[in-house]
Symmetry: C2
Subunit: 286 residues, 2 copies
């Protein structure tokens, strides 16, 4: 059985506040159809892909709730689910999720049959969101094992290590990051490359990008990174853009179990890492 | 008080099997004197800096012990300690250490007064060495806080995180890595840059380099990396070479505590990292 997979990052450019949901979904479907023409099996949409990046707007509580989905799919998103199923393309979709009083920053993985395989709620959050309660998960999907982290999660080596230990072969990173300068791009790619290399996993990252509010440019730089940390493909615009690559899931095994490779399954010394999980550690005082 | 420091990586080129200890020490002293002329406060020598890289030789037990130091300093190394004290230069020195039956891969930090401040025994080891029993330490030194990791340790995000949590402002990485190809250099620098950035610490790495045994080239690429992960200086030879830079220890505070920076002191979710310290985890089975 082939372990090759055609993967894409379907980056979304600016979504302005006044843009209709119908139009936003049409843009998602256009990227899906582009993916179909390029024979892609699965695409990743960005973080909070269905709305403008509303945290910048500093809305009051009642207004901000309009940007959250109460169910998924819901009638406004159903056309995307329907078209993906017709085209037999799996996808990962980021959205703001209201669950009771909780304002989660979530992403779902949807199979080629249109069914939701798993949902992840962002763990490491900015103050706008409720810290996720889902923990880290890796699901059997797409002929391999797939995990999700959202934006700020990618700055945490602990997130990446747990992904690796859970056996992730592909990690999806939907994101939306303020910045357009050299250093923002460098740090973003450094996180993806280090996470991939240290844990021997493919990484796909897709950006909610562009300047929706003047003075708040979001980084582009959607990217596909190999288990050896190499950038295989990346976007160069801040508009709707699909990048794709053929990846071989078996490459993860080579990266993980080669002698003296970053073999976190060998040579670990967990008794020396205890501080990392110490709930009472309260910060560096030097 | 200034928190600026002049730091150097004193890389050592090939040390052939037949080379005398006296000559090896002379080479170390030559780099020390170069550092003095360049007004450097502290230099880092590489992993196993006093001998050829003997694991390649596949020696039998009695022969291999000749490559280990039983005390430190010892008469053969004393001239280096003496000259460093005269020049008022602190240094970090890697060497093979025999302690009873234990074959440690160790490094010491020596102050400007010639006294040993701390010793670290390599934690994550290749089969040639005994796994270190010292744990990870950070010492108050050089006007800041200094830690050491050796070679393979740098591939472990857990090592870097504990360094960060212990308050390291400078981490010394003496190393000796097989490889000369693009990927070896890329992975080496990726480890340093990710470790520095994720934990907001300066990193100085110094290589035991060159081709001591035909077909076994060791990587050069000694490097100084900022707390933002940027390469400030690097070597370009595989010979004895000193690189240096002026670093400001206060940069670590900016990198650690800026809003939404890699602030491992904020936003951590240790209850979700437990797998990392689970002594019973026995590897990925996917």
């Amino acid at each position: 059985m082939s372990r090759k997979l055609r993967v894409g990052a379907a980056q979304i450019g600016p979504i302005f506040r006044e843009e209709s949901r119908e139009n936003i979904i049409d843009r998602h479907i256009a990227l899906l159809e582009d993916a179909a023409r390029r024979n892609v099996d699965v695409i990743l949409y960005p973080e909070c892909s269905l709305t403008t990046w509303f945290p910048t707007l500093q809305l009051d509580d009642s207004e901000v709730d309009l940007y959250y989905e109460k169910t998924m799919p819901n009638p406004s998103v159903q056309p995307l689910f329907d078209r993906a199923k017709e085209l037999e393309i799996a996808f990962c979709l980021g959205y703001a999720e209201l669950d009771g009083d909780n304002h989660f920053n979530s992403s779902i993985l949807v199979g080629k049959d249109g069914k939701i395989i798993g949902k992840y709620r962002k763990t490491h959050v900015e103050p706008d969101f409720t810290p996720g309660d889902s923990g880290f998960s890796v699901w059997p999907a797409l002929g391999g094992y797939v995990g999700i982290g959202i934006c700020y999660d990618r700055r945490w080596p602990e997130f990446w290590r747990v992904m690796g230990m859970l056996g992730a072969e592909v990690v999806f990173i939907p994101f939306c990051s303020l910045g357009s300068r050299h250093l923002a791009e460098f740090h973003h790619l450094l996180c993806l490359q280090a996470g991939a290399f240290f844990n021997g996993t493919w990484v796909i990252a897709s950006s909610h990008t562009g300047e929706e509010v003047e003075g708040h440019p979001h980084l582009g730089v959607s990217a596909i990174v190999s288990p050896l940390g190499e950038i295989i493909s990346r976007s160069y615009t801040c508009e709707d853009e699909l990048i794709e690559a053929t990846i071989d899931l078996d490459e993860t095994k080579k990266a993980r179990f080669a002698p003296r490779a970053p073999t976190f399954a060998l040579d670990r010394r967990p008794e020396l890492y205890k501080m990392i999980t110490d709930p009472n550690w309260d910060g560096v005082h030097t």
